[in-house]
Symmetry: C2
Subunit: 201 residues, 2 copies
């Protein structure tokens, strides 16, 4: 009944919390995401927010999950219509760059930030971040191997090495956009990826 419920009624309270949580955490980090801030932003009490998750760590994991959904939809799902192999690999890179360029997460790539924040702190959050990255890496490598097997990339191509370099380009792009606000880096990243995916002459 109360008018402040509009967001909750449309999305569900839990979903609204996660949505806002992702936005905050992408700027302030998963540790900088505080329950009080979240509650204030949503016009709720702290216990009202925490009641949906039980603990801050559970909230962080849920936010991480939600961010994973966003990344998957923005990068992976956009590229899925492309044919497996090189075409899809190219589509992934294009969607990846676009995802960073558009600033889908206001604070840059959520997972790179989370990785740097938690790589030195053992725990469930760290494990989840690492697993997410490994899944993404494996997905890319599988697609790269398909391209090699199909003869779309030189037979001597090391798929793991290729993915390593693509990840490097993406991270350098994220860094340049977030720290230096340098839009030129988009071209640089595109060129770096394209020269790796040039395919057979």
């Amino acid at each position: 009944m109360s008018p402040r419920r509009s967001v909750a009624e449309a999305l569900g309270t839990r979903s609204a919390i996660l949505e806002r949580g992702v936005a905050i955490a992408s700027c302030e980090g998963l540790e900088g995401l505080t329950i009080g801030r979240l509650a204030a932003d949503l016009g709720m009490s702290k216990s009202g927010v925490l009641g949906h998750f039980g603990s801050k760590e559970a909230l962080q994991l849920a936010v991480l999950d939600r961010a994973g959904d966003v990344f998957r939809a923005e990068v992976w799902e956009r590229a899925r219509p492309a044919a497996p192999g090189l075409a899809r690999l190219r589509a992934i890179c294009a969607a990846w760059i676009s995802y960073l360029e558009r600033g889908v997460f206001p604070g840059g790539c959520f997972f790179v930030a989370a990785a740097h924040e938690f790589d030195g702190r053992p725990g469930a959050v760290r494990d989840s971040v690492e697993a997410g990255f490994e899944t993404w890496r494996a997905r890319l490598e599988k697609e790269a191997r398909r391209a090699v097997d199909a003869g779309e990339l030189p037979a001597a191509t090391d798929a793991g090495q290729l993915v390593f370099e693509l990840l490097g380009a993406a991270m350098a792009l994220n860094h340049a956009l977030q720290l230096h606000r340098d839009p030129l880096a988009v071209t640089r990243a595109r060129q770096a990826m394209e020269s790796r995916l040039g395919g057979v002459a």
Copy 2:
């Protein structure tokens, strides 16, 4: 006189604070670097620590400065004896990889971590991190241009693009070492850099 002064007497208290501060911040982040924690580690009082800097932000800037000294000594100074141009660029890359591989900072590259922590928060710390990165980038680019001018790299080489890709490789290495503890990444990074610096055939 008092026995607990041994560290302070050898290095100076301020220097001891910064040394410990760099170690803590490299793992916990510059915001996670707490005055209380620092004081406890050094067997000092919080006010005794803070008295040397005045505020937490000033402490963070001093720690950042100190970390810059370390990076400069570990990477730049090690490569300086090499001849300007391609030789020095190669020496820089080797020292850079070694710096990451040896874990000079226990939490990985201090500046990459600081960049991700502060890129969304305006302030003196962010400005300092950005300036540090820009100095490093410019230094690399200057060396790359020298190599091109000397004919050690193809004349068509885009120095800015080259540096972008070197930075990407270093960031991917840092990420792989810290999040995945994957020592294989050292070879990957070396290969990525080397294939960029192969020089003229």
